[in-house]
Amino acid sequence: MSAPALILAALPLPATSGLDHYLVVSALLFAIGFLGVLVRRNTLVIYMSLELMLNASTLAAVAFSRFNGTMEGNVFVFFIITVAAAEVAVGLAIIVALFRLRHTVQVEELATLKS
């Protein structure tokens, strides 16, 4: 058996996974994304971290939808994916324009709001 399989086998994992597991994963994803937004300096990476936070919320929505046996969560996910796609198109365009203008995408150099 490979090493990861051994680790998984050694952990006392439950046989089936419930709502709590999904929510924990979602919260971890969200926290990782937010930490990325806070600490990374490259605008593109911050952008990717934001996407990660969005996906964390979609995961939570799907989990709730499954848990409740209703479709609202799934519908929400589609909306979020659609809006996120549109947002990525606009956001990346802005970042490209910003790079052309300033020749950098590092946030510490983008401080003209207060200078």
Binding site: F34, L38, V107, A111, T112, K114, S115
Partner: protein
């Protein structure tokens, strides 16, 4: 023409004259004078048509403004009282307008002067005709305004502009009470309409209160210059002499008396007693002050105060005779009595009778003084005049008629009207009677002093030596007023139009008639003979030369009130104002306004520190905000 339209014309003619002069003719004195005098003539003609047209108490009112349930009408109440007053105002006013043509001939600001006269005639007629207290108050302020304008006509002189301000400010004090009285009247009775008040009084449904008549009387105290607000009238002599004759002798200062007569239905015995004493004390005090004056107009000013005191005392005295059905009856609890026509009380009648004769003889005296001042190049000191009897015969003889009328010489008008007042006093209050008789003695004393020193002996200055009689435009009004000063006293000359008022003048009968004649003539003769014996035409007051202590004492009494008011304004009011100003600076401006602005600025400085310009710092603030919101939603704080 219907009477309501005539009444409207009475107001509109002088108003139109004032407007035309003020808008187009300020620089064209001759045209302004012509228009103003023509307006006064037209006003007199319309007034006579209205007075002798026989129409009384005709309905004429339009709603002017409405504040909730309080509707102010602009209306006319025209009874015999208003007719008499309108007669005085329009006739005497017209004669003084004519006199002004001569007196103000060389004045560079004639346009302003005649516009002021027209404004005054408009506002005075408004007071006479007003059918409610609110409208009366509006015109009351307007006469005060025109008085201010005309006292300060020669505003280049600091004394004239100061006198104008003083007159205005002192009147404000009285008018504040007047306004409170109007409010009290509306508060208690729900109306300020004079006709409605009279109807309620007749029906027994009027709420009586001491406050209403006394507060309204405050207005009369200011306007008629009664004590303690008498200080403005002597100073008001800074205005041109015809103005003193018209406003500060014959009409405006008499408006206070007229207003009292208008509100006689509101009177209660206590208020009347107070009014009586105020008038009596004013009469005596002013007569005492008049003895030591050297300025011809100041003597006349103090005599005006004294005569106004007589009128106020007469009002207070006579109306004590009437007993209200039940003075303090609860509202609405009255018997169903037919609202009878309101009759004028004896006090009102005596006061108005004296007002009528006084308007003639005092206007005459002032115009005579004006004629003297004009002839002597504005020399007003009687000790620098002298010898004018031969040089100015018409002025001298008409002035003599005026003097005889005011001191109560038999067969002159003042004798009869003063007699009526003294008779009322004799019947009602012996002490008041004694004071008024003493005042009559003093009146004869100071008037004969003035007459003898100013007109007899040798001319004591160049101006007096070169004086000559003034032209007919000034002597004709003198002659007309002199005629009035004689005939106005006889009952048979009073037209039927005034019988509602003058028919009520108390006349002693039988033995008391001769008692009154003896007392009146005796008082007059004592004063007259004393003055003739003591005062001789000279360059100095003999009283001042021989007994300077008495003279100085009387001078002190004259300036006493001015000193008190000066002290009050300077030492009390000014310091209080400084204190209040300091408190305002420290607390209001310092703490509240600057402190508040400072606190907001401080918060702003703090908030500005949060704004650092780094993208991720805002993300931290965002995180903090979410945490706070979460904590709040979870009920942590």
């Amino acid at each position: 023409m219907p009477p309501a339209q005539l009444a409207a014309l009475v107001l509109l003619i002088p108003l139109a004259s004032a407007a035309v002069i003020a808008l187009f003719l300020r620089r064209r004195g001759a045209a302004a004078a012509a228009i103003s005098v023509a307006a006064a003539a037209g006003l007199a003609a319309v007034s006579l048509a209205l007075i002798f047209g026989g129409q009384r108490n005709f309905p004429a009112a339009v709603e002017w403004l409405r504040l909730g349930t309080f509707a102010v009408s602009f209306g006319v109440k025209f009874d015999d009282l208003a007719a008499l007053m309108l007669f005085v105002v329009s006739i005497v006013g017209f004669l003084i307008h004519v006199f002004s043509l001569g007196y103000m001939r060389d004045d560079p600001a004639r346009g302003r002067y005649f516009a002021g006269l027209s404004v005054f005639m408009f506002s005075m007629c408004g007071i006479v005709l007003a059918d409610n207290l609110f409208m009366l108050f509006v015109f009351w302020e307007l006469v005060g305004f025109s008085s201010y304008l005309l006292i300060g006509h020669w505003y280049e002189r600091p004394s004239a502009s100061d006198a104008a301000k003083k007159a205005f400010i002192v009147n404000r004090v009285g008018d504040f009470g007047f306004l409170l009285g109007i409010i009290a009247c509306y508060w208690l009775n729900g109306t300020v309409n004079l006709t409605e008040l009279a109807a309620r009084q007749a029906a027994g449904g009027l709420v009586f209160s001491r406050a209403i008549p006394l507060l309204l009387f405050c207005g009369a105290v200011g306007k008629s210059a009664q004590m303690p607000l008498q200080v403005w009238l002597p100073d008001a002599m800074e205005g041109p002499t015809p103005v003193s004759a018209l406003i500060h002798a014959a009409t405006m200062v008499a408006a206070g008396i007229y207003m009292l007569c208008r509100i006689q239905v509101l009177m209660v015995p206590d208020a009347l007693t107070a009014i009586m004493w105020v008038g009596t004390i004013t009469a005596l005090y002013s007569a005492v002050c008049a003895i030591v004056q050297t300025d011809i107009k100041k003597v006349l000013a103090y005599s005006t105060l004294s005569q106004l005191g007589y009128m106020v005392a007469a009002f207070g005295l006579g109306s004590l005779m009437i007993a209200h059905p039940s003075p303090f009856r609860a509202p609405g609890g009255g018997m169903a009595v037919e609202p009878a026509a309101v009759t004028f009380q004896t006090g009102t009648a005596a006061a108005m009778f004296h007002l009528l004769t006084h308007a003639f003889f005092k206007a005459l005296l002032f115009l005579g003084a004006g004629s003297v001042i004009h002839a002597c190049h504005h020399e007003q000191d009687i000790f620098k005049l002298g010898g004018l009897a031969r040089k100015m015969p018409v002025t001298f003889w008409t002035f003599t008629v005026g003097v005889f009328a005011i001191i109560g010489m038999p067969f002159f008008a003042g004798f009869y009207s003063k007699d009526a007042i003294l008779y009322l006093a004799l019947e009602k209050n012996p002490l008041v009677f004694a004071v008024l008789v003493a005042t009559a003695i003093l009146t004869a004393l100071y008037m004969i002093r003035l007459w003898r020193i100013a007109f007899f002996g040798e001319a004591r200055s160049d101006a007096a030596a070169h004086a000559h009689e003034t032209g007919p435009v000034m002597t004709v009004p003198l002659l007309a007023l002199a005629t009035g000063s004689v005939v106005a006293g006889y009952g048979w000359t009073h037209p039927a139009a005034f019988q509602g008022v003058l028919g009520q003048v108390p006349e002693p009968e039988g033995a008391s008639h001769w008692t009154m004649v003896a007392i009146g003539s005796g008082a007059m003769l004592i004063g007259l003979l004393t003055a003739l014996a003591y005062y001789r035409p000279a360059g100095m007051d003999p009283l001042q030369a021989r007994v300077p202590v008495v003279f100085g004492g009387l001078r002190f009494a004259q300036t006493f009130f001015d000193r008190i008011y000066g002290y009050y304004v300077d030492k009390v009011q000014q310091r209080l104002a400084l204190l209040l100003g300091w408190i305002e600076d420290v607390f209001l401006a310092g703490w509240l306004i600057r402190g508040g602005a400072g606190a907001v600025g401080f918060i702003g400085m703090g908030a500005r520190a949060l704004h650092v310009g780094r993208l991720q710092v805002y993300a931290y603030w965002f995180l903090l905000g979410v945490a706070l919101l979460w904590g709040f939603a979870a009920g942590r704080f």
